[in-house]
Symmetry: C2
Subunit: 332 residues, 2 copies
DNA sequence: ATTAATTAAGCAAACGGTTGCATAATGTCA
DNA sequence: TGACATTATGCAACCGTTTGCTTAATTAAT
């Protein structure tokens, strides 16, 4: 049986110290209003009897919960954990706790989570939100909402701009002699995907290369594996995948067809989350997800602190990290 | 500027419907006490004016917050996300929100998180806790605590038992002809690591194989890479790594020394988190982290619901998944 | 020495729900 | 038809803080 041992309350501390509960309260939140000695006495007793301010009561009274909500589409996607991690540590520094939600890419689920969270958090960070513009604005009217990889005017947003990285990747492939490049696309509604696809196309035009778009749906290792046949049939000699997981699928698929990487075919991933912990090391477009998380959390906290809300739009650059899965074509 | 638009309260709904706030309250939490029509009228008005019960007030009144806390040592470790994911979805089903904390393997940080969480959650799930026995018991006295991969008597715990998987791995290597096997160990304080190390040793003895223990510290890809030299120098022909990331480091290190896998050296990982999304596919010991999360969450919720607390100790088996990084030695 | 300003602490009313007890209305049974 | 359950609702205390307003005590200014 769990003993229903109640936590000590502010009243007990007050009685023990011989002051009013207002004084105890202030010893914790407005110490500057009290004399040094009083604060010390209160804190000492509080420590002794194990008093910890009741968050719920505080939240009820102040309307502040000291939490921030973070909703991501898929924790299992290696792009996400570094982001969670930095949001977490930034929040902790500012003494906020993080509510985590996983939407599994389902808009309804994301909506449910947002609804549930909105009552107990100061701010909401939505990563690659699949919510409609309307719903996002609905929540943004209630509390600060920060978007990562979703571009919605008027809502603070952090965008990881693949354009630079993809441009570098295309140039890299062109310099290696490739003439036909496939973009293996991911979630159709994703802002990142759209942007990468567009950039591949435009850069192909500029560099005078043929480009083809082939979808890996749903975006996964298996989908990457399966789609290889189609890619090879297209006559392309290199591929840029929506993310590193699909890229790994491509590598496996190519190997299963007896096609060597990078000898006969080059592969570039996106996000650079697997590249450095995998062998052979994947050439990939680095996404600075951690950085995005850091900025999202900081923006959120700043917004909470000075309540000023301006139209914020951070754009983070990406860069190509060349490793071992891209090579010269045709092979000499 | 954020408009300080207050959410509608129970009183507004009550006034609008023409009932007491007690009735509104019951319409949401104890609908069975009211007549069907009353409940309907209340809910209708509530929906219209956008009333949502205030969690903080509810928590203050009932002492129930509707949250459960989850503290993990390192989100970036691929073993963790599937676990988070299942905890999350199980909790959601029972209408709990998840507080996530990342301790970065630091006991002090874990303690801070636990302290902060304990006031706003019903239950706490600690994964691979680095906390002292005392601290854990301290929290367990305040609220239900569930341990994953930590074996502490009297506290409900879910253990992923590597013994079976490691035993299978040793047998597999023995059958391939290997005579000297290295265990590449991870965090020294980790229960899992200790267990794996012990099993390698005992199985080595049983199968009449030489075994050596070499530490990769801190456990990482780089550490795995670096340690290869020592491993090769030991004369071993196969290695079992503490986790898949170290295993990948080993693969890279071996390749850099011109040693072929699995031709000249075999590698087995643990946790099986990278094996299936990586090429070449890693032979690994599957850990069922998701399953552990599911059981942890369910146990926690059950504990909360019927308050009965018995000494629970779940043990989950692991199994070897043979893929492409283990082979016959000596090569024919 | 008197008045004004400053500082430290207390009083009591919120904050928005829940819930034990009381009450009124309806139904049941002998 | 009176006594007794049963059902649906209201009343009001309580949960543990915060905070605007007061008061008392001390210091500064004239």
């Amino acid at each position: 049986m769990v003993s229903k041992r109640r936590r000590p309350t502010i009243n007990q501390v007050a009685k023990e110290v011989g002051v009013s509960k207002a004084t105890v309260s202030r010893a914790f939140s407005r110490a500057d209003m009290l004399s040094k000695e009083t604060v010390e006495r209160v804190l000492k007793v509080a420590r002794e009897i194990g008093y910890v301010p009741n968050q719920a009561a505080r939240a009820l009274s102040t309307g502040q919960h000291g939490n921030i909500g973070l909703i991501v589409p898929d924790i299992a996607n290696p792009f996400i954990p570094p982001l969670i991690s930095t949001v977490q540590s930034q929040s902790e520094e500012a003494d906020y706790c993080v509510f985590l939600g996983n939407s599994d890419e389902l808009p309804e689920r994301e909506d449910r989570l947002a609804k549930r969270f909105s009552g107990q958090v100061e701010g909401l960070i939505l990563v690659s939100s699949r919510l409609s513009d309307d719903r996002i604005r609905h929540y943004a009217a209630e509390l600060p909402v920060i978007l990562v990889n979703r571009d919605l005017e008027g809502i603070p947003r952090i965008l990881i701009d693949s354009a630079v990285g993809v441009t570098e990747a295309m140039a890299h492939l062109a310099s290696l002699g490739h003439k036909h490049i496939v973009y293996v696309s991911g979630p159709p509604k994703s802002w990142s995907n759209t942007q990468r696809k567009k950039t591949v196309k435009s850069q192909g035009k500029r560099l005078n290369l043929q480009t083809t778009n082939i979808a890996a749906n749903p975006p996964s290792y298996e989908a990457g594996f399966k789609v290889v046949e189609k890619i090879v049939a297209s006559g392309a000699t290199a591929a840029i995948a929506f993310d590193d997981i699909i890229a790994q699928g491509l590598l496996a698929g190519l190997a299963s067809m007896g096609i060597e990487t990078p000898g006969q075919f080059s592969v570039i991933g996106c996000d650079d989350v697997l590249g450095a912990v995998t062998y052979p090391q994947l050439t990939s477009i680095s996404s600075a997800a951690g950085e995005a998380g850091r900025i999202a959390a900081r923006t959120c906290i700043e917004l909470l602190e000075n309540k000023a809300m301006s139209d914020i739009r951070y754009v983070l650059d990406t860069h190509l990290v060349i490793r071992d899965t891209t090579g010269v074509f045709p092979q000499k």
